[in-house]
């Protein structure tokens, strides 16, 4: 399993899956996709990596312990829900900022809702990886 080609291929696959997962995350508000689907894809990428190169290397590539990533994701979603406090709205009220909005076009939307979905992404990826890595290392 440790052939150089496979490892390089795995790296490439991980990169593609990660990019694709972020793409799914970002488009989710308007077409099928979203944080959960994105996070799952991201996790699948690292699982493939772990299977081909070993969990130790996958952990290294991930840089942070996956369980921490999960909790940070939870924190991010929580924070996105808290932002509206500053604006005097109810918790989890979406706050939107439209960059370059014109009459016809709403421009590039930045919102707490997106941060929320990023949190979902991180949680899903982190939690699954925490479980899978630990399961792999259990043997």
């Amino acid at each position: 399993m440790n052939s150089i080609i496979l490892r390089a291929g795995a790296r490439l696959l991980v990169a593609i899956l990660l990019v694709f997962s972020v793409f799914m995350l970002l488009r989710g508000h308007n077409v099928p996709g979203g944080g959960f689907i994105g996070g799952l894809l991201g996790a699948v990428g690292f699982i493939v990596y772990a299977i081909s190169c070993g969990t130790a290397e996958a952990r290294e590539a991930l840089r942070y312990p996956p369980e921490n990533i999960a909790l940070v994701g939870l924190g991010a979603s929580l924070l996105s829900g808290l932002v509206s406090m500053v604006f005097g709205d109810d918790p989890f009220t979406g706050q939107w900022l439209f960059l370059g909005a014109t009459e016809d076009d709403k421009g590039l939307p930045l919102s707490t809702v997106l941060i929320f979905d990023i949190g979902v992404y991180l949680v899903v990826m982190g939690a699954i990886l925490a479980l899978v890595f630990a399961l792999e290392e259990e043997v």
């Binding site: 099928p32 996709g33 979203g34 944080g35 999960a70 929580l78 982190g126 699954i128 479980l131 043997v139």
Partner: protein, 759 residues
């Protein structure tokens, strides 16, 4: 050990302080109640009240009348003497301070009980006396017998307490108030109330258990496991009289009916006679005294049955008489035990030489107990006969019972207060010598009071007995006069017979005892019955628990599904809610629908029947994909993608895990599987029936309509499902990711944790 010795010295100082503090509290309270003698003797009733739980009609109200004052003085007066006695009796005991804490708490509870004018407040103190007596009976906690006795007393009185609580609640509802001084005015209404009989029964269970009437008597002799001062105080002079107090207190409300009259008469008389014989049977001084206490309690119950002046006066007087001599005798028994090392009657004799003061006190107390003139006991006995002859039930029977009990009592008095001191000296474990003054003060004072009050009965007649009688009965009863010489009358003649009979019994008591003991072995014992009751209870509990909480998971799952089946299926049948067998729209079914249905059913079937892990996983995958296809067909792409991804992960994880798990065993061997299949199929049918019925007809789509209209215009998203997830119902999603995050962490911790533990 050195350090222990080092801080023993200051601890001892603290202990001494705790002892004297308790004595001071009791004495101070006694002095306080003494002040009330004047007003109460003048016919006043003192009342103090303050709200406690007004919304439930409960107030902290207290009342001092003749009845409660009598009790209060006995409680605090005897309490002070007992505590003084205990400072010496328990000197150096490691739990000295705890003892005084319990004793003081008990005294306070008992005072609260007799002073309370609110039923529930009374009950609160009632239970407190049970708790404190539990701690006191089990004071010698390292002994298994003590612990058993403590539990027995607590459970018996506790059971009675619970009955009493129910009775009080019913009485409160019937009367519309918990205030005793209001309830006592409603006697007639209560007696005619539909709940009268339940109320009466529940009250009497409470009173009989606390005052150890047959058949609830067996805990009292066992309670003698407590240190002797406790026996003297709780189990003769005060707590056991709480039941008597209750009957006296509730007398105006519940008495004057045949049920009351006969129940109390029979219970009291049989307790008195039975206890007198049992007393004669014992050889342990404390046991002898315990049974005479039972006898006294029976007698008091007997007299409270009636509603005539003589009987009630007899009860009030005998209450005081008994408290005085019985506390004295118990304390003397304690002295004997303390100074000689034994309480066995047969081993004791000739103590008069060594302990003259104790002997004198014992003699005085015993003479009062035996009912010789000029002691208060004599007056008490005369009143008892007068009362017995005046009762409405069966004067002859009652008088006979009282006569028999009194004669036996006289014999017992000889056994406890004559024999140990006079007859030939026997060897005792310790060389006897006179007790210190703190232990003598109690018996001497109490015994002397018995004599003093006999000569001057007016000291208690006016301030205590007469107001007490008035408090017990709402009818205009004339309290009988307390006097030594009432002329030659029937009671006096009966007294003569008593003395003659008693002396005769004393002379033959040893043979009688042997006979009673051999008879007792054949008779069923309540105490042994208790043990088998507890054993049966435990065995029943264990059996039930083995059946229900079997430890076998399959049975748990089984029970839950069976419950579901019966509850939901039963309700479905009961309500007739099933909308009828629907028509399947075969016409609309296309090839793809059939394919999906077939895929799912086949997958589920394979998963269910296979013994191969690979086949099972494949089956699961088929079901998952089939469900995803349903989502796609019916316009749910997000759900379908998620389902596919999740299903992939499920199958992968399952495969990874299953490879490390053992093979699945064939299940053909289990006959139960047929029943399982039946249950499973029925539940499946029920689910289908319900689903078909609830989805018949259109749904109220106002929620979805709102989402459709607001999704883009207000929440700026074109994927309505995603907008619901991250905006409209973001809190759900937040909870959902919390579940995922925690599931990951928990699984990680489970896997990692085991590793660290095994290292």
């Amino acid at each position: 050990m050195k350090s222990d010795a080092a801080h023993e010295a200051p601890a001892k100082a603290g202990q001494v302080l705790s002892g004297w503090l308790s004595v001071a509290i009791a004495a101070g309270l006694f002095a306080g109640f003494w002040q009330a003698l004047g007003p109460v003797g003048g016919g006043e009733v003192l009342r103090w009240s303050r709200d406690w739980v007004p919304s439930a009609g409960i107030s902290l109200s207290f009342l001092i009348d003749g009845l409660s004052l009598t009790f209060a003085l006995l409680i605090t007066g005897i309490g002070a003497l007992v505590m003084l006695y205990s400072t010496k009796y328990l000197a150096g005991h490691p739990h000295f301070a705890r003892f005084f804490l319990y004793l003081t708490l008990f005294m306070a509870s008992m005072l609260g009980l007799v002073l309370a004018d609110n039923l529930i407040t009374l009950f609160v103190f009632w239970e407190l006396t049970s708790i404190t007596s539990y701690l006191l009976i089990g004071f010698t906690h390292t002994s298994a017998a003590s612990r058993r006795s403590a539990l027995q007393a607590l459970l018996v009185t506790g059971a009675g307490g619970l009955a009493l609580l129910a009775g009080m609640i019913l009485l409160g509802d019937a009367a519309g108030t918990y205030e005793l001084s209001e309830i006592r005015l409603m006697g007639d209404a209560i007696r005619e109330h539909g709940l009268y009989l339940p109320i009466l029964i529940l009250f009497l269970i409470g009173a009989f258990t606390k005052s150890a009437q047959i058949p609830f008597h067996f805990w009292l002799p066992n309670a003698m496991a407590a240190p002797t001062p406790v026996s003297a105080y709780l189990h003769s002079a005060t707590m056991v009289k709480a039941g008597v107090y209750l009957m006296a207190r509730i007398h105006p409300t519940l008495a004057e009916t045949d049920v009351w009259l006969w129940t109390l008469t029979i219970a009291g008389a049989s307790t008195a006679v039975f206890a007198s014989f049992m007393a004669l049977k014992q050889t342990d001084l404390k046991q002898v005294l315990a049974y005479t206490t039972l006898m006294a309690l029976g007698t008091l119950t007997l007299f409270l049955a009636a509603d005539v002046g003589y009987a009630i006066t007899a009860a009030m007087t005998f209450l005081i008489v008994h408290s005085l001599y019985k506390a004295a005798l118990f304390l003397i028994a304690g002295i004997i035990d303390h100074e000689t090392g034994t309480r066995e009657v047969s081993k004791l004799g000739g103590l008069a030489r060594f302990m003259p003061v104790t002997t004198a006190a014992a003699a005085l107390a015993a003479l009062s107990m035996a009912g010789f003139p000029p002691f208060l006991g004599f007056i008490g006995k005369e009143l008892k006969y007068a009362g017995a002859l005046a009762v409405q039930s069966e004067p002859f029977l009652v008088a006979s019972a009282v006569l028999l009990a009194n004669a036996l009592m006289l014999a017992v008095a000889g056994v406890v207060a004559f024999k140990p001191f006079w007859r030939g000296q026997s060897a005792t474990p310790m060389t006897p010598h006179e007790a210190p003054w703190r232990m003598l003060a109690g018996p001497v004072i109490l015994a002397a009071l018995g004599a003093l009050l006999g000569i001057m009965p007016d000291l208690i007649a006016v301030p205590l007995v007469e107001p007490g009688v008035k408090a017990i009965s709402n009818a205009e009863l004339q309290p009988a006069e307390l006097k030594l010489w009432a002329g030659v009358n029937l009671p006096l003649i009966l007294s003569g017979i008593t003395i003659a009979g008693g002396v005769a019994l004393y002379l033959v008591h040893e043979r009688l005892r042997d006979w009673l003991q051999s008879a007792g072995e054949r008779a069923p014992s309540f105490d042994k019955g208790w043990d088998s009751l507890i054993d049966q209870f435990k065995a029943g509990a264990a059996w039930q628990t083995r059946v229900l909480q079997s430890g076998v998971m399959r049975r748990y799952v089984y029970t839950i599904f069976a419950t579901l089946l019966i509850a939901v299926g039963g309700t479905l049948v009961w309500t007739g809610a099933f909308g009828g067998i629907p028509t399947v729209p075969f016409a609309d079914l296309q090839m793809k629908h059939w394919a999906v249905v077939a895929l799912i059913i086949a997958g589920a079937a394979v998963t269910t029947v296979t013994n191969s892990r690979i086949a099972a996983i494949t089956g699961l995958g088929a079901v998952g994909i089939g469900v995803a296809l349903i989502f796609i067909i019916f316009g749910a792409p997000d759900v379908a993608i998620t389902q596919l991804l999740v299903e992939t992960l499920v199958v992968v994880l399952f495969a990874v895990a299953a490879l490390r798990l053992p093979l699945m065993k064939p299940e053909d061997g289990f006959p139960n599987r047929k029943l399982d299949a039946l249950i499973a199929t029925t539940i499946g049918l029920i689910v289908t029936a319900i689903l078909v019925t609830v989805t018949d007809g259109p749904i109220d789509r106002r929620l979805s309509d709102f989402f459709e209209s607001a999704s883009w215009t207000e929440a700026f998203g074109r994927n309505i499902v995603n907008v619901i997830l991250v905006d409209f119902r973001a809190l759900d999603t937040f909870g959902e990711i919390a579940v995922v995050a925690v599931a990951g962490v928990a699984a990680w911790a489970l896997l990692k944790g085991g590793k660290e533990a095994s290292k």
